[in-house]
Subunit: 189 residues, 2 copies
């Protein structure tokens, strides 16, 4: 059942997309190659024609997710009508990020500390990209002050979503998001 070269590329892209969603939902160890392929509408054995190993897929899928996150942040900043930081906070500190398809950092960062160097690099690089996006829109008299502010702001944003996600009580989760939102609103440029 060979498919065309074009269809082959399509299949690869679909595997990456499906894997990104499943890894975020279940973690890297929570989903196997066979189930990822089934979700992509292919068979287990076909996987190794597309990727060298599961770890390799995890790296590539992570890179895609990390790049998408940065592009989305930049887009929100560029198209914000009012204060860009406020727009970003509204986007990030929302209930949408408490679902299974949440921010890749809010769902997978801790596992990354236990993975190989390649994956760790993808995540570390993605985080510094987000710091750069933030450094342009927070207050601060000097570039150093803005960078420090950006680092602290990113920590607070992701911490709030990560903690909110471990709360069973939706009201408590909302409290974490709201309190952090209010605190960070005062740091806009």
């Amino acid at each position: 059942m060979r498919v065309s070269r074009e269809k082959f590329a399509e299949n690869r892209a679909r595997i990456l997309d499906v894997a990104g969603a499943l890894f975020r939902e279940k973690g890297f160890d929570g989903i196997g190659v066979a189930d990822i392929m089934k979700a992509a509408g292919l068979t287990h054995g076909g996987f190794y024609g597309h990727f060298e190993s599961k770890e390799s897929l995890a790296c590539e899928a992570s890179k895609v997710l990390v790049e998408k996150a940065r592009d989305r942040w930049q887009e929100i900043v560029d198209t914000a009508e009012g204060d860009p930081l406020e727009a970003l906070l509204r986007h990030y500190l929302s209930r949408r990020n408490l679902q299974s398809q949440a921010c890749v950092f809010a769902s997978l960062t801790q596992e990354v500390s236990r993975q190989g160097a390649r994956m760790q690099s993808a995540f570390a690089g993605g985080l510094t990209d987000l710091v750069d996006v933030l450094a342009d829109i927070v207050v601060g008299d000097t570039p150093q002050a803005r960078r420090a502010n950006a680092l602290a702001t990113l920590s607070a944003m992701m911490g709030a979503v990560i903690l909110a996600r471990t709360m069973e009580d939706a009201n408590l989760a909302d409290e974490f998001l709201a309190a952090t939102h209010r605190q960070l609103s005062r740091r806009a440029a």
Copy 2:
């Protein structure tokens, strides 16, 4: 090779202790029952005389770690010579928390979102305990303001450590800790 009742209780405690350390280091899925027992100096099969299942062990070990964390925070607050929040920030936003034996929340929270309800409860309860500890030592005119400040402060503290842990570059990791420390120092009571 039966052991005394006293030794039995000792063995159970050691399994819990060893499991707590290994779960934090490798994650719940990163270590098996056999290796935990080996690290405790016992055999694989003996495990099921002490615990019903691996999940049950994970719950009990988590409860112990969560309680220990709260007690440690409370102790630091109670014995602080200067400002208690400053003492807590110094303790938490330190390199020690970037090692494998870090804060249980900084190393395992994200996995907990994918575990059973029992474990989620243990973590959620532990986090609200830490919020209560913080609410007594942060600034705010009303109890509501102090609680909101405590929620935002906890998010920032844990976010900083979690992000610092994913950085390969030690200098970048330190930057996250230092920037967050400086930002939060202004919220003391």
